[in-house]
Amino acid sequence: MEDIKKQVIKDWVLEYSDRLYAWALSKTSSIETAEDLVQETFLAAVVSFDNFKNKENPGTLLYSILNHKIIDQYRKKSSSTSSLSVLTENQAIASTDGLFNADERWMNRSNKSLWEDETQLLDNNEFIQIMEFCMAELPDKWRIAIGSKYLLERKTDEICQELNYTTTNYWQVIHRAKLLLKKCIEKYWN
């Protein structure tokens, strides 16, 4: 690697790695995973260094790489236990559209709620496992939106800025993701 590039990234490591590590640890709860993700973040930064437009502000960039890696970690975890595979955005939209008929009414109007006792379900490991199983299906962009909201607990405007969404795109993605999860959970939870 060219010396200047190497020196710049080395400075970034010295300045940012402790902060990135603390963040990764708080989100993964694993020292080993957090260390790996921070290391991968800098190695990814090296690879795409020449494409970075904003080299004066590496913090934003490094956090963004790391955040994607943290969310991806959960994808790997759920896909290792799930037989479902990631849908494309079009497939996922078709799947959620399939919940409604041509008049935009529910296809299945049975109102027996399988999920009546809320507090009990939240403490039910099997229910949470089925949700994890179903999350394997979410298209990548939807997973990142869900992960940014619920895992990284980032604010809507930050998520929109980073994912290049309007606020309308954003809530529609969250909405579609929830419909897809509902459909999948109803299929497997009985």
Binding site: A22, T28, E35, V46, L121, M131, W171, H175
Partner: protein
């Protein structure tokens, strides 16, 4: 009258940003008359809570930085 498809979208929009007066009114009216959407509202809330719970971190890290000298050296050696 709202369709169920639009009503469910408003149910989720409500938690992400405010509904206009008209949207809020239409949604309330729809839910009063539609059991399936009333069920969806409960499910949507439950999914939100379940997602928060699923992603809840088991250890809390209070500090913004944690010194990890070994990690620094390891990364620098790999550059």
């Amino acid at each position: 009258m709202l369709s169920c498809k639009k009503a469910t979208a408003l149910i989720d929009k409500k938690y992400e940003q405010n509904l206009s007066f008209k949207e809020g009114f239409q949604l309330k009216l729809h839910i009063l008359m539609c059991d399936a959407c009333c069920v969806y509202e409960k499910q949507s809330k439950l999914i939100s809570k379940a997602l928060s719970k699923f992603f809840q971190t088991k250890v809390s890290v209070d500090k913004d930085t944690i010194e990890n000298k070994k990690l620094k050296e390891k990364i620098i050696s790999k550059l």
